[in-house]
């Protein structure tokens, strides 16, 4: 599992350098926990977002959340609320804020911040237990955040 995670980080770092249109993690503007502006200007792909939400080495949102739409994925967690109806309860901007940095919406949330690069205590190099190095990148890329948001918007009751 380690190699894919690390090469994934390497890809993230490169795409950062190349895509100047992206909003950097340190430049995201939160308003009451919501983020109005797309992080990339490119529409998110809900099918891709669904994969990221379910995939252990990407968002792994199912570690903490369950959703009826993801019934075929084994082992859902129950730390966070069920995602069914998230697209009704929250606007796109709010969902973007929650996925990018849930702590801006929910004070002290246990949910990790998926688009953040600073302010960590003892950040590590993925799951190696070693210190972070220059491959350190947010948990998801800007486009991956957009894909996840596009998927969450489709979760209507």
């Amino acid at each position: 599992m380690r190699t894919p995670i690390m090469s994934f980080c390497a890809v993230v770092a490169t795409s950062f350098a190349l895509n100047a249109a992206e909003v950097l993690p340190t430049d995201v503007k939160y308003e009451d926990g919501a983020v109005a502006q797309s992080l990339t200007g490119v529409a998110g792909d809900p099918a891709e977002g669904r994969k990221i939400v379910s995939n252990k080495s990407l968002g792994n949102c199912v570690a903490c959340h369950t959703a009826t739409d993801l019934a075929e994925i084994p082992f859902h967690g129950e730390i966070g609320p069920m995602l069914d109806g998230a697209g009704d309860r929250w606007s796109e901007a709010e969902l973007r804020g929650i996925v990018a940095n849930a702590k801006m919406m929910f004070d002290g949330s246990m949910m990790p911040s998926f688009y953040k690069t600073e302010g960590f205590t003892r950040p590590g190099k993925a799951y190696t237990g070693k210190a972070a190095d220059d491959t350190f990148a947010p948990l998801l890329t800007a486009q991956q955040i957009e894909d996840v948001v596009a998927y969450l918007v489709t979760l209507k009751d």
Partner: protein
């Protein structure tokens, strides 16, 4: 994010075998070898009462088969390692030509010891874990090489020493000369580390009983250590477990045997004051 991905396969195997993976701690009583009733659930110690009402052994969060396996020494694979350590206990080593038995006699002389560690050592002015004490005996009494902190030899020896305290209540001191170390351990317990920004408390105080992916979260008690894990089929030490949990927050871990993990061990042990010593226990 791959939270404890390695346990996934072991859990999958267990659930195929029919082990119930439910949200609540099991309503079950652990009676060891049909004679010793263990305390796996009791009122939280007073220092913890503003955070938890009851404390639970990790045993109550494991499946039916795993729980049954631990109830009988003939079925507990951890006891094979205890037997190996029993031989080492009686074997002279080092420049002094002594074995553990030369100074301590039979292993049952160690009854009660596991229950009060980590504890203050007056002579050296430090908080000592059982591992540190074993190495002190090896170096200074036997003239033998120190064991690696989480090595098989060390963990097996700690399991032997734990095994003769099974059923006695954990009772580590938290005041007097250890108070400062205990406070440091408490701070570490509540610090959110790594890129996932999770503390021990997030998982083991706020979320015990819940599933995190395939894992049924316990209170992260250490009364059952060393634990035989079905996942890696050997005994695992407290600091190895701490390291794994910190790593899973995508953090830079502390080292086994480090002052930080010694402090954390003292604090976590004290959260289990009142539970029975169970080591070697069985977990996924």
């Amino acid at each position: 994010m791959t939270l404890l991905k390695n346990t996934l396969s072991a859990v999958a195997v267990l659930s195929i075998m029919g082990a119930a993976v439910s949200a609540e701690p099991a309503d079950d009583t652990l009676i060891l070898n049909e004679e010793t009733e263990m305390v796996t659930k009791t009122a939280a110690p007073s220092h913890l009462s503003d955070a938890l009402d009851e404390i639970y052994s990790g045993w109550l969060f494991r499946g039916t088969e795993t729980r049954a396996m631990q109830a009988d020494d003939f079925d507990n694979p951890g006891m094979i390692f205890v037997e190996q350590a029993e031989e080492v206990w009686n074997t002279p080593e080092g420049s002094e030509g002594k074995s553990c038995a030369s100074c301590h006699g039979a292993t049952d002389s160690m009854a009660g010891v596991r229950a009060v560690y980590p504890k203050w050592n007056e002579a050296t002015g430090e908080v000592r874990t059982l591992e540190m004490q074993v190495n002190d005996c090896r170096e200074n009494q036997m003239g033998a090489e120190k064991y690696g902190y989480t090595s098989g030899d060390m963990t097996n020896m700690v399991a032997l020493i734990s095994s003769v305290s099974r059923g006695l209540p954990i009772n580590v001191a938290i005041d007097g000369p250890v108070a400062e170390t205990w406070e440091k351990g408490k701070e570490l317990y509540y610090t959110r580390t790594g890129q996932l920004e999770l503390s021990c408390a997030n998982c083991h105080e706020d979320s015990y009983g819940m599933m995190i992916r395939a894992d049924h979260l316990s209170q992260g008690q250490i009364n059952g250590f060393p634990v035989y894990r079905l996942k890696n089929t050997k005994l695992n030490s407290v600091h190895a477990r701490f390291k794994g949990c910190v790593r899973d927050t995508r953090a830079e871990t502390y080292n086994p045997g480090s002052p930080e993990f010694v402090a954390l061990e003292l604090y976590v042990a004290s959260r289990g004051n009142g539970l029975s010593v169970e080591g070697p226990s069985i977990r996924n």
